[in-house]
C-alpha cells in the first residue's frame, strides 16, 4: 500500500516538474517573440529543410524583409529532403495560425497540391519559391530562377570560351527526372548549341548534387574518354568534385568546367580558378519578393501570378566579349551560404 503511494507521488511530482519546465521554457520563448496581435499580417515560410544554406539564406532574407515591412514571419521547414508530411503539416498549421500568405519551396512538385488548394480556398496567397509545383498554376505565383535560362547562360559561356576547339562534353547531372535538373541540362545544351544525343556528348553521370558523387562520376567519364574538354555541372558541389577528379587526371587546365548556384563556396572556387564560371541565383530575392507580395495582397488584395524570374547572373573573372557577367568580387558580396 505504502509503496503504491510512493510511486504515485513520484509520478505526479515529476509530471508537475515537467509541466513547470515546459511553462518556463515556453514563457521565455514567448517573452522573446512577443504577442501576435489580431490584425497583424502573418507571412508563413515553409522551406525544404533547415540546414541547406540556400534555404537558410532564404529564411534570413524573409525575416529581414518582414521586419522592414512590419509584418510577422513564421518560418517552418521539413526535417529532411523528402519530408512531404512535415511540409503539409506546416502549411496546415500556418492556415490555422491565420497566415495571409504562405511562401513554400515544395519538397516534391505534386505532394503538396492538396494542402495548397486548401490554403487558397481559405483565402491564403500561396507562392512557390525556387521550385515550381506541377501543375505550375496550383499556386498563385512562382518566384524562382529561370533554370532553363541559367543553363543557357552556362552553356553559352562554355562554348564561347572553348573557342575553336572541337567540343567533347561531359554532363554531371543531379537527379534524373527532377524538374530543375531537366531545365538546367536542356538549357545548357541550348546555350552550347548541341542537341541531346549529339556525338560531341561523351557521357553523363548522376551526382545527386553531391561532391563525392560528382568526383566519382567525373573519374569514370575521364577514364572512358580522355579528350573531354567541357564539363556541365548541376551545381557547385558537383563541380568541386569534378575539379578534384580533373586534377588527379592532370587535366584541370584543359577543361572548361562551369556550374550553377551562386553559393559563396562556389564563387570562391571561381575566384581560385577551379571553376571557370558559375551562374548565380538569388534565394534572398525570392524570399524578399515573396514577403512583399503578401504585404501587397494584405493591403490591396492584389495577387501576383505566373512565373516571376528572380534572375541569374554569370559570375566569372574571365569575361568574354558579348556575354554579360559579373566578377567574383561582386559575386562574393551577393552570394549565399558561407
Amino acid at each position: 500500500m505504502s509503496s503504491l503511494r510512493i510511486s504515485t507521488d513520484v509520478r505526479s511530482g515529476t509530471v508537475a516538474r515537467s509541466t513547470a519546465a515546459g511553462l518556463v521554457i515556453f514563457g521565455t520563448a514567448f517573452a522573446v517573440t512577443g504577442h501576435a496581435s489580431a490584425d497583424e499580417v502573418i507571412v508563413g515560410l515553409v522551406t525544404k529543410t533547415e540546414v541547406n544554406p540556400f534555404f537558410v539564406k532564404m529564411r534570413q532574407a524573409a525575416e529581414e524583409e518582414a521586419k522592414a515591412k512590419g509584418v510577422k514571419l513564421i518560418a517552418r521547414a521539413g526535417k529532411f529532403d523528402g519530408d512531404n508530411e512535415g511540409q503539409v503539416t506546416a502549411i496546415e498549421d500556418l492556415i490555422s495560425a491565420g497566415a495571409k500568405g504562405i511562401l513554400v519551396t515544395p519538397n516534391n512538385s505534386t505532394g503538396m497540391l492538396g494542402v495548397i488548394k486548401k490554403a487558397r480556398e481559405a483565402g491564403v496567397l500561396v507562392i512557390a519559391l525556387d521550385t515550381a509545383t506541377d501543375p505550375a498554376d496550383a499556386v498563385d505565383a512562382t518566384f524562382a530562377t529561370d533554370n532553363f535560362q541559367a543553363g543557357v547562360q552556362q552553356g553559352a559561356y562554355a562554348r564561347k570560351a572553348l573557342g575553336d576547339k572541337k567540343p567533347v562534353l561531359a554532363m554531371l547531372d543531379g537527379t534524373p527526372g527532377g524538374t530543375v535538373d531537366t531545365f538546367r541540362h536542356n538549357g545548357y545544351l541550348k546555350g552550347f548549341g548541341l542537341a541531346e544525343g549529339d556525338p560531341a556528348i561523351a557521357g553523363s553521370a548522376i551526382t545527386n548534387g553531391a561532391q563525392d558523387k560528382g568526383q566519382v562520376g567525373m573519374e569514370n567519364l575521364l577514364s572512358k574518354n580522355g579528350d573531354i574538354n567541357a564539363v556541365y555541372t548541376i551545381n557547385e558541389p558537383a563541380a568541386a568534385g569534378a575539379y578534384a577528379a580533373l586534377k588527379s587526371f592532370g587535366k584541370e587546365a584543359d577543361v572548361m568546367l562551369t556550374s550553377i548556384d551562386g553559393g559563396c563556396a562556389g564563387v570562391r572556387n571561381v575566384k581560385a580558378g577551379q571553376i571557370a564560371a558559375t551562374v548565380m541565383q538569388f534565394p534572398y530575392k525570392m524570399a524578399a519578393n515573396g514577403v512583399d507580395a503578401v504585404v501587397e495582397y494584405a493591403a490591396s488584395g492584389k495577387k501576383p501570378s505566373g512565373f516571376v524570374n528572380t534572375g541569374s547572373f554569370l559570375i566569372t573573372d574571365k569575361p568574354i566579349a558579348g556575354i554579360d557577367s559579373k566578377d567574383t568580387e561582386w559575386g562574393l558580396k551577393n552570394c549565399w551560404g558561407d
Binding site: M1, S3, L4, S7
Partner: protein, 278 residues
C-alpha cells in the same frame, strides 16, 4: 535397478514411484551440472533435495520439469517415459514448480502472476473467439486461495514488485499449490523468509501432501528439512550421493555426505540404513 547402479543407498518407502529419473546428464560447455544423476519420488512423500551450492539441485529439478532438456538420461512419470519439450508439457501433466528465481513477472499484479500462462477466459464467445480474460473470476479465485494459505498480502491487484521478498515467494508457492495435480517441486521456497513465513510455507507443503500429492523440496535449511522430509536426497557434484531418512541419520551425517567428508558405503541391500564411515 537404477538406484543400485548409482551405488547409493536407498530408503524404501511403502508406496509406488511417481516420478523417476535415470542417469541424467547435463553439460554447460565445460561445466557438468548433472553427471548421471538418478532420482525417485514416491507417492505421498515429501522428498528433500540437499547439496552444496552448485551441486546441481536446480539443474536436476529443471530437467524434471522441462525447463531444461538433459543431454541424456530418461524420465518416467508413473512408470511411463516422458519427454518434456518445455515447461508447459510438465505443467500440463500436473507437475508444478516453484523455481529458485520465482519466475514471476514483477510488473504484473498478483492475480495475473498466479494465473500466468494459463489465464482463465470468459465463457462462450467472448472467451473462445475473442479470447477475453475472465479478470474478475481470476481475482476472486486468487483472493480465495491466498486467504486459504493465510498469506498476508496488501491487495490482489498490487504489482508483485511492490511486495516484500517473502511475499513474492508466497505468490510463487501459492501458484504451485493452486495448480499442482500430480506433484509439486519447490526450489528453495523459504530462502528469503522469516521464521513465521517459513512456517507458513512448510504448513503449505504439508497441506499439499495432505491432498495426497508428493512434494520435492530443495533447501539449505537442515532443521527445516529434518522437520518435514520423509526422505532426503543428497546431491554432490552432479550425482546422487545418497538417499537417507531423517529418522535414521543426523544432520551431521547428511552434511558429511553432502560435503564429501563421509564416504557412503555400498549397501548390502536396499536396507533402511545407509552406513557411513567418517
Amino acid at each position: 535397478m537404477a538406484a543400485a547402479a548409482s551405488g547409493a543407498p536407498v530408503v524404501t518407502a511403502p508406496a509406488g514411484v511417481i516420478l523417476e529419473a535415470r542417469n541424467l546428464v547435463k553439460r554447460y560447455g565445460h561445466v557438468t551440472a548433472l553427471d548421471g544423476v538418478d532420482f525417485e519420488l514416491r507417492s505421498g512423500e515429501i522428498l528433500a533435495v540437499v547439496g552444496d551450492n552448485g551441486a546441481g539441485k536446480s539443474s536436476l529439478i529443471k530437467a524434471l520439469t522441462g525447463a531444461l532438456i538433459p543431454d541424456s538420461g530418461e524420465i518416467l512419470l508413473d512408470g511411463q517415459p516422458v519427454h518434456f519439450k518445455g515447461p508447459l508439457d510438465a505443467r500440463k501433466l500436473g507437475i508444478e514448480t516453484v523455481y529458485q528465481d520465482l519466475a514471476v513477472a514483477a510488473a504484473l499484479d498478483i492475480s495475473s502472476n498466479l494465473f500466468l500462462g494459463r489465464e482463465r477466459r470468459r465463457p462462450g464467445f467472448l472467451g473462445n473467439v475473442l479470447r477475453m480474460l475472465d479478470k474478475k473470476g481470476m481475482r476472486a479465485e486468487a483472493e480465495r486461495s491466498m486467504a486459504d494459505l493465510k498469506f498476508h498480502l496488501p491487495s490482489i491487484g498490487s504489482a508483485v514488485e511492490s511486495l516484500s521478498g517473502g511475499q513474492r515467494q508466497g505468490v510463487a508457492v501459492a501458484r504451485a499449490a493452486l495448480f499442482a495435480k500430480k506433484l509439486a517441486i519447490m526450489d528453495e521456497p523459504t530462502a528469503a523468509l522469516g521464521v513465521r513465513e517459513t512456517g507458513q510455507v512448510l504448513d503449505l507443503i504439508r497441506a499439499i501432501r495432505q491432498r495426497g500429492l508428493p512434494v520435492v523440496l530443495i533447501s539449505h535449511n537442515m532443521p527445516n528439512v529434518f522437520e518435514i522430509a520423509d526422505r532426503i536426497h543428497i546431491m554432490r557434484l552432479g550425482r546422487r550421493a545418497a538417499v537417507v531418512s531423517p529418522k535414521t541419520h543426523t544432520m551431521a551425517d547428511v552434511v558429511a555426505i553432502m560435503t564429501g567428508a563421509a564416504k557412503v558405503e555400498e549397501p548390502a541391500s536396499s536396507g533402511l540404513r545407509a552406513s557411513i564411515t567418517t
